[in-house]
Subunit: 416 residues, 2 copies
Amino acid sequence: MTATTFDFAPLLPSGLPPAAARWTGLAKYSFVGGNNDPEQLPLTGLIDAVNAVMRREGRTLATYGLQSGPQGYLALRKFLTAKLKRDADISCSAEDILIVSGSLQALDLVNATLLARGDTVIIERDTYQGALNRLARLGINTVGIPLDRDGMRMDALADALADLKRRGITPKYIYTIPTVQNPTGTIMPETRRLELLRLAEQYGVPVFEDDCYADLAWDGKRPPAIYAMSKTANVIHIGSFSKSIAPALRVGFIVAPWAALSRILPMKTDAGSGALEQMVLAEYCVSHFETHVPALRRGLRAKLDTLMEALNEHFGTAAEFEEPKGGIFLWVKLPDHVDTMKLYQAALAAGVSINPGPEWSTDKAYAGSRLRLCFASPTQQQIREGIATLAEVCRNEFGVPARSSNKELRAEAAPR
Amino acid sequence: MTATTFDFAPLLPSGLPPAAARWTGLAKYSFVGGNNDPEQLPLTGLIDAVNAVMRREGRTLATYGLQSGPQGYLALRKFLTAKLKRDADISCSAEDILIVSGSLQALDLVNATLLARGDTVIIERDTYQGALNRLARLGINTVGIPLDRDGMRMDALADALADLKRRGITPKYIYTIPTVQNPTGTIMPETRRLELLRLAEQYGVPVFEDDCYADLAWDGKRPPAIYAMSKTANVIHIGSFSKSIAPALRVGFIVAPWAALSRILPMKTDAGSGALEQMVLAEYCVSHFETHVPALRRGLRAKLDTLMEALNEHFGTAAEFEEPKGGIFLWVKLPDHVDTMKLYQAALAAGVSINPGPEWSTDKAYAGSRLRLCFASPTQQQIREGIATLAEVCRNEFGVPARSSNKELRAEAAPR
């Protein structure tokens, strides 16, 4: 007798994402995901930190929240108050901070607090896929604002706000990544931040500032956070340790006025974020953050140079890009007829993973020939080889880049 | 000029939980929360483990998911396959397991996959507050099934299923904590598990088995998991390391047939659970789980004895309870006229925190004079002092327990 296998399908509500496929491993040349450079991971420092903090207060792991309450490990929040003041000119206390399980949880919590199906938000046209996917799943209308070399364009934002107002719609927030924007790598100058705040106040819309990549501005200087510049406490600010220390440590944070944070906090029903990860980060960062991050930036900057060289070498003028002001990704434009969704599939089959532009933009047509390349995780050699392979795939699929430049390259690259 | 402060209130969707109050610290005598015994935390073992695993593979922290893919750290999933076979008779592979950020995330993911507003689920009448709160927030109808000394009553379950069927309702799942039930501490015998599976199959309803406390059955023996006994792959099984190792390490797991897991996995959009916590647990548990847990159980059992003694001493016959078969909590009945919601408030003012019964039951009237006392975290002395204080508060508020028994006790306790 064979028992029938239970069928879960009839129980599933409508609108679920497709079923997952079995994981088949990372691509040989991986230019996706916010992964960091393993060689730059401060391993010794983290090991020293975990030993120190565990020996001193490891037994607090027996208590949810480490006796620090629902907002997260107090020592980490204290580090953040100092760090945010120094780097982003944010004046806040440990009570204004909620530690979360990576900035993705910050997005979830802020969305759960402010959004209902059918709501509208304003967002940069090209932006973080994780933000876009969440909004789509929640049934939120997104209005994408184009960017220029200084980030979100204020003329377009003013038009969008006026247009929405005419239609009786108050957007729930203006989401921006002003400091090393994902994927464009732009940094919004201080004057534009002021203009953004002026518009936000004029229209009664809060600003949702995602500063996840801000530590990776090449020169280590960045304008004050929009949160710091607001005179009306209308900004929710989020950040992360994923880019500055290690992405697999799932620790991010929200800074918000209590009027907002007191509503966000009850949505965090996970009994606290990982305590050991918070403890290690606090212990390590207090004494090492300021020296680690500049060294990390230098290493990332060198990989970016390799990536840009490889693109110039293998794609020639077929690949256009602005040099990012920091970060771990490059936003690349290929000739109009290149469909990066198709390129993505073909490249993956050749062992190269890329982020196709349409997944990182509210405007699928505009982004159709664009792609995002993450450069922190692959080695210099993998960057060169991976871009060479990508160019070959692109030529086979779309006839660009032209063969000549590539031939030269391959001959030159052969001995490596 | 004073700038106006931004008002977030008009932006909030309806149905949000109330704003959080500022955290004011843990109660002096805390009998709430699934906290564990800090003295029993295997600190040296965890420190050794973190050093070993960091030195060996710490650089994988630079990559989301530790190169193990979206289902979690492979070494931890491998440990679990062996542990689940040994302890719960579950045959599964690492591919059947999804590591999550504590069993609370497991609840969220399963709910997100199966439930839509207005759906109905079956649940034990007295059950975990975190499960009840989630269902309430999602707008789910709950049908509570009474328990006896052997857990969920099958006659009542059969009646409920038949009644729902008559009304044209197919419940989305039957949620049960069959092994050291929260809060009753019962263990469902194997024959009843078979009966539960028979009913579930008859009515086409999957079983959602929450085995979070199963490692803490006093005698170390427990019936096979319902998951293991199913012949039709109709069970989703979840578990946790919170009770066996440390609650502040936020690591739990889901075991499910791929038909379910492939739909659950895309709902986990957090870029993975905390990697360091997974690494430490895998490294520690492979060689120490089997010796640590029995020692932990002995310590918890001794604290339970102290709690039961203290209740007998201070409450006399006014406090009724069944001895739990394991775990970290005791479910106590006070005289009918005691309102434990009021007792909770008065006790908190006196420095004693308890879980009032109505928060742990679908039947607020039935549970109105009941409370849950967690005994793992307080010391033996705190248990004695806290219960003495609780009895005093209860007498002041409700006239029970009678003064005489308490007077004797207080005289006797004075020299301590």
